[in-house]
Amino acid sequence: MKEPAADVFFAGIAELNRMVREKEISAVELTRAFGRRLESIGPRYNALALQLTERAVRQAKEVDGEIKRGRLRGPLQGVPYGAKDLLSVAGQVTAWGARPYAAQVFDYDATVVKKLESAGAPLIGKLAMIELAGGPAYRYASASITGPGLNPWDTSRWSGGSSSGSAIAVAAGLAPFAIGSETSGSILTPAAFCGVTALRPTYGLVSRHGAMPLAWTLDKLGPFCHSAEDCGMVLEAIAGGDHHDPGSAGKSFYYTPQYARKLSDLRIGFAPVDFAEWPGEAARPAFAQALETVKSLGATMVENMLPDFPYGQMISAIISADAASVFQPLISSGQVDQLADPKQIAGLKAGLDIPAHVYLKAMRIRRVAKDAIFSLFGDVDVLVTPARLSVAPKVNEPLDQKPDRARPKDAGLTALIPAGNLAGIPALALPCGFVDGLPVGLQFVGPPFSENTLLAIGKEFQNRTDWHKRRPPGAG
């Protein structure tokens, strides 16, 4: 079969869907093409956990039949995708990136997998991840049964985690979109390091049923895509109430860019120190230019900072205690020692000894912190800060080594990853420049259920820049 032009592998969802609807390419051909690409190139980056092309082709055949009969389901119909290997697919191995679960098989599909099937999107593969989504902590990029996620922009660099394969697959054109998860940074970090657009939805907007739990009050699922617009389309398909998820907000999401508020009516909060002092010297010009682009959008820019709370300690205590509870059978059985990362093994074991009063203190401070963070949004509609302050680290270097320079006095908004996750609020990460050939990104964060506002800002930012259209070397 003739391989489609390279442009197809980096096309947006609407364009791929148009091609299928107008029969320029069948859903089966498109699915097979992406499946071959994922199978042949995915292992180069350690991105692939499990190939599911044949299953996907069966789905694609149904899509072609439906289109022939004039049944159109929406923009994802016929557009293949990949899913982080923490999502269950009935009858298939779901290893959670971890050796002790290498033979684990569930007999049901995760809700997001079901929803995407209903939308007509064939699932071409499970994507690699950091073992147990990072658990309480890990030291090395190699903390995965599939090895370290290698960055498509430079394979000597890490992809970021824990949704490693999801970010790699989109960056390298192995899947038009992918689903990942975030407990604290696992969507935003790999999106920033791999130069893709990704959305961390409001807590409860997307059902976690069928997803590996790590921390019940923090876990969220979200899309990795080529653009903010694509994220909106995927979110519309996967959002919605689900009685199988106790954390479900019971809300749907409709991507409505046509009804977005005018950007000139918005107020965007930022901290100058985040752009001028926190990034390393080499990254500052890229972030400064990105901030200028944000300012050019026409919103009112307001200097802002996060209220003082021990965000890092709070989220550490909550994740450690939750993870120890989730994985207590693994720890008690001794199988925890089969994990790849020594820090993760020790962190899980130590988590069993976290006193209840410490966990409860973290959750009580969280309550107060959440209210304080929400009050920020009385003054601004959105906050913006670098998604990560640096480019991707080298793949073999410890991820917990001390920074080699003094930190600025003012924290600005730099704690927005743990703070935003603790508050359950949405974030959009998008690429905003390159430093030495590696991408850097911004995060836009808003109050609960402000996804349409974030996506509107992201869409306009991407109308004015082309960072999201760049392709890694050798990717076609």
Binding site: P136, G204, R364
Partner: protein, 68 residues
């Protein structure tokens, strides 16, 4: 710590929390599994001590009901 104004932690102490939970403790890698476990326990104790310092109103209940 209502509105964060009475926090005893300095901004500098708080500033390092940009890193995700995956990379919050920064130290030289311990040599053995026992050392690794002790290091993890020490990190948890440091976390507990930091949280204990934070003052919050008596009426602040845990954020269990988390529908936002």
């Amino acid at each position: 710590m209502t509105n964060g104004k009475n926090a005893k932690l300095t901004r500098r102490e708080l500033a390092g929390v940009m890193l995700a939970a995956t990379a919050m403790a920064q130290e030289a890698p311990p040599a053995t599994p026992d050392d690794e476990l002790k290091a993890a326990q020490a990190r948890n104790q440091e976390t507990a001590a930091a949280l204990a310092k934070a003052e919050i109103p008596l009426e602040a209940e845990p954020a269990f009901h988390f529908t936002v």
